[in-house]
């Protein structure tokens, strides 16, 4: 149940009567191509809104030697369960500062659940399968979502106060792979186009 994740919405484009509290974004690369799996967050300047941790653990599967999903937005304090659907064992680990862990060789019957209490990026890998990679973006705000395959996303229910919009993508050029700008959702009427430079690099196949 990831209701807080906005569903990709092309409707937002034509929706001239969008409420001021909705913010539609289109994240594109230097060639104008929409970038999937960018995580956008909005942090109101005045309101230190805290994220609501997910009630049930979020699921990251290991299927056919691939993490599914590739990108997960995790409200801070939520639990993530790593489930192995493969017949082989996996050794899931992370060396990221936000959460270092090592779940040594576990199989189908041994789902591993971890809690993520620090905001930041957690890159998850498997020690015996170098190509396996998944990203967890631990966010500290309830206003977070990730772009769909066409690079579009709508943040809904935003407070009508100015704040900071952050866009993060693992391939985005720049420090921390992050772009941020000040924005007032109430003053934005149309889709905000965010064009950044991205480096080459494809997601591992079979993520969707």
């Amino acid at each position: 149940m990831r209701l807080w994740i906005s569903i990709l919405s092309l409707l937002a484009l034509g929706c001239t009567a969008a409420t001021a509290a909705d913010l539609s974004l289109h994240v594109v690369n230097q060639k104008g191509v929409g970038m999937a799996d960018a995580v956008v967050t909005f942090q109101p300047a005045s309101d230190a809104a805290q994220s609501n941790s997910a009630a049930a653990p979020l699921i990251v599967n290991q299927t056919n030697n691939t993490f599914t999903p590739y990108m997960t937005v995790v409200p801070r304090g939520s639990q993530v369960q790593f489930r192995n659907d493969d017949s082989v064992l996996h050794h899931v680990f992370s060396f990221s500062a936000a959460k270092r862990f090592s779940l040594k060789l576990f199989g189908q019957s041994e789902p591993q659940t971890l809690q993520f209490d620090t905001a930041g990026i957690v890159v998850v890998g498997c020690n015996i399968h170098d190509d396996m990679i998944a990203y967890l973006n631990i966010v500290d705000t309830p206003y977070a979502a990730q772009t769909g395959p066409d690079g579009r996303v709508t943040l809904t229910g935003l407070p009508e106060t100015p704040g900071e919009l952050r866009v993060w993508h693992p391939l985005m050029k720049g420090r921390g792979n992050t772009y941020s700008q000040s924005i007032d959702p109430a003053a934005v009427a149309s889709v905000v186009r965010i064009e950044r430079k991205f480096r080459r690099g494809a997601r591992p196949v079979g993520d969707y």
Binding site: S94, F95, R100, V124, G125, I133
Partner: protein, 349 residues
Amino acid sequence: MRWPKRIGTKLGLVFAGLFALTMLLIAAALHMVVTERATVTVADEMTASGAVFSRLFLDKAADKQADAQLLAKDFGFRAAATSADPPTIASALENLAIRLGTTSLALIDTDGMVLGAVGKRLPLDKLTAHLDLSDDAALVDNKTGVLFAQDTPYLAGVAEVRAPNLVSWIVFGDEITSQKIAELNALSALNFNARLQLVDRNSLPPSTARQVGQDIVFARLAPSLLDTQRSQLVLTYPIADALRPYRSLAGVLLIVMLGCGAGVAGISWVVARRLAQPISDLSIAATALRDGQSAQVVVRSQDELGDLARAFNDMSGEIARREEDLRTQALTDRETGLPNRRAFEHALE
């Protein structure tokens, strides 16, 4: 030196001189050809050796890069490399240096920060620019090559540390000592003087071997780790050494030339003497004839000189006969055929 009087000596000298001149010209031509040939031989060997050296360098660097890449995947190393604890990182790097068998190692994160470095200092600032650290590992053109720190060449390479995303770069470097170059050099047929040097980026790419002063010099671009550095392998070989194999040939040639020269001088002296002898004989006979003596020369040949000798003999005989006639007429009374008064007076004297 006075020009000799005798025609035989003259001819001998002229022929010997001509012969010596011809031999000198031949020797000069031979020297040119031999030098050219020796230079080409050395140049060919240099081109081949240069290619072999570069290949060996590349292979060695590639092997080490593969090792480094493999070691970078070690779970423990990755745990240490991402530990954000400098002493742990330095310690892990020291261990990696031993595993890899390399003298210099450094770890640079994707923000360009040097997380740790052991061994001799590599030009890390230049490497940071090369790696374009905000970028993907696949975009780094050269993962191995020659790297210059000041004037010291290193055989260097980079390997990415993935955890599992790209988090940092291992940079390794092995000093290319003159001893290592000498070891490589031992593989080539000729003992070149080989060295690696940093050259101006805008300099023209080196061409084939050429002669510089007393040496044959060949330069070849060495695979460089950084695009901003241009290094070349320079091989030099003294021309004198290149000509050494031909030295025995030169000795044999000199002996043959001296022998032939002496032979020619001797033969031409003999020929000239044979030519000059009849003339000399004629000269003596003519002097005798002038003094009123009868003079005859020996006819030695059937050629022009023989004809001349025969004609001289005829002339000499004819002159003697006419003189006899005149004497007879002067001392004889024409009417009676008896000696006249002049003959009587002559007898009294």
